[in-house]
């Protein structure tokens, strides 16, 4: 009984598949159970073609997209520029 869903999905080893298959030929209740799982899996797969529509248009992204990485990039560049200015300033000050 426990192996039936994985059997229906073809997720068992070859030996297990053969064992369950043999059992299903002789056990009506397990066969009916397998049919129910098969039906449920078909229903679940059919959900792929039922899609939801986003409330707002989200694909206007070729410009001005704020990726979650953007703040890190901006921060990193800003920090780099800051370090360069400070280093330049320190060099000038030492020369004086």
């Amino acid at each position: 009984m426990e192996l039936i869903p994985a059997y229906v999905k073809g997720e068992l080893t070859r030996n297990q598949m053969n064992e369950v298959s043999e059992h299903l030929q002789n056990c009506n209740s397990c066969y009916e159970e397998a049919e129910k799982w098969e039906e449920l899996f078909a229903e679940l797969r059919s959900l792929v073609s039922y899609t939801h529509k986003p409330e707002k248009k989200v694909a206007q992204l070729t410009r001005g997209k704020t990726s979650s990485l953007t703040p890190w990039i901006v921060g990193g560049v800003g920090l780099g520029v800051g370090v360069l200015i400070a280093a330049g300033g320190a060099l000038l000050w030492r020369k004086k």
Binding site: E2, P5, A6, K9, E11, K36, W37, E39, L40, F41, A42, E43, L44, R45, S46, L47, V48, S49, Y50, T51, H52, K53, P54, E55, K56, V58, A59, Q60, L61, T62, R63, K65, S67, S68
Partner: protein, 190 residues
């Protein structure tokens, strides 16, 4: 498929119009997978936006070895799971405007009503047919663990559908037929 290939090549050359057209072909599919994994519309929209950005910025590395939809589903699942891990918040499953007679909706509601980890497995494996190995990698758990948890998730879903939990979501006999009829206006890509 040929038109899609042309669009992909145009996007690779940096054509923003082609990008809009290409992305709009997959937008609903991406949004729906994200929504099913995350359980709320706002986060699903954020993920859709992020995937659009990834498509735009990484399309050059797409080699046509798998179909673009498979590639996008993988990117979407990974992005949504990352967000899920970051947030780990109570998932609010929004009520839908559709009627309760809609069998497909009832099945979806039963899936959305599962615990977060169980829902993730059902969505990835039983709805979108991701390979077990890939799911294990995405969730950073062993394949054996995926099998065990998936089995529990499937039993929990059956229990809900057969009326064993939360008053149940009793299905009529012959659900397969009624489900397939679904709502015409919900179907996409037709």
């Amino acid at each position: 498929m040929k038109v899609e290939h042309v669009l992909i090549e145009k996007v690779k050359r940096g054509d923003p119009k082609a990008f809009q057209e290409l992305f709009s072909r997959f937008e609903r599919d991406i949004y729906t997978l994200a929504y099913r994994l995350l359980g709320n519309r706002e986060d699903a929209e954020d993920v859709t936006q992020e995937v659009a950005w990834i498509l735009w910025s990484k399309i050059k590395s797409f080699r046509n070895e798998s179909s673009l939809s498979t590639w996008l589903y993988r990117v979407t699942a990974n992005t949504a799971l990352q967000l899920l891990r970051k947030k780990r918040k109570i998932i609010y499953v929004e009520p839908s405007a559709h009627t309760a007679e809609d069998m497909h909706l009832m099945l979806e509601m039963a899936v959305m009503d599962l615990q977060e980890n169980q829902r993730t497995l059902i969505v990835l494996r039983d709805i979108y047919n991701f390979p077990m190995k890939e799911i294990a990698r995405m969730l950073d758990i062993s394949e054996e663990n995926v099998r065990v948890q998936l089995h529990r998730a499937r039993k929990a879903l059956r229990k809900r559908l057969e009326g064993g939990e939360n008053g149940g979501m009793q299905r009529s006999s012959g659900t397969n037929t009624s489900l397939r009829k679904g709502r015409a206006d919900e179907k996409s890509n037709e």
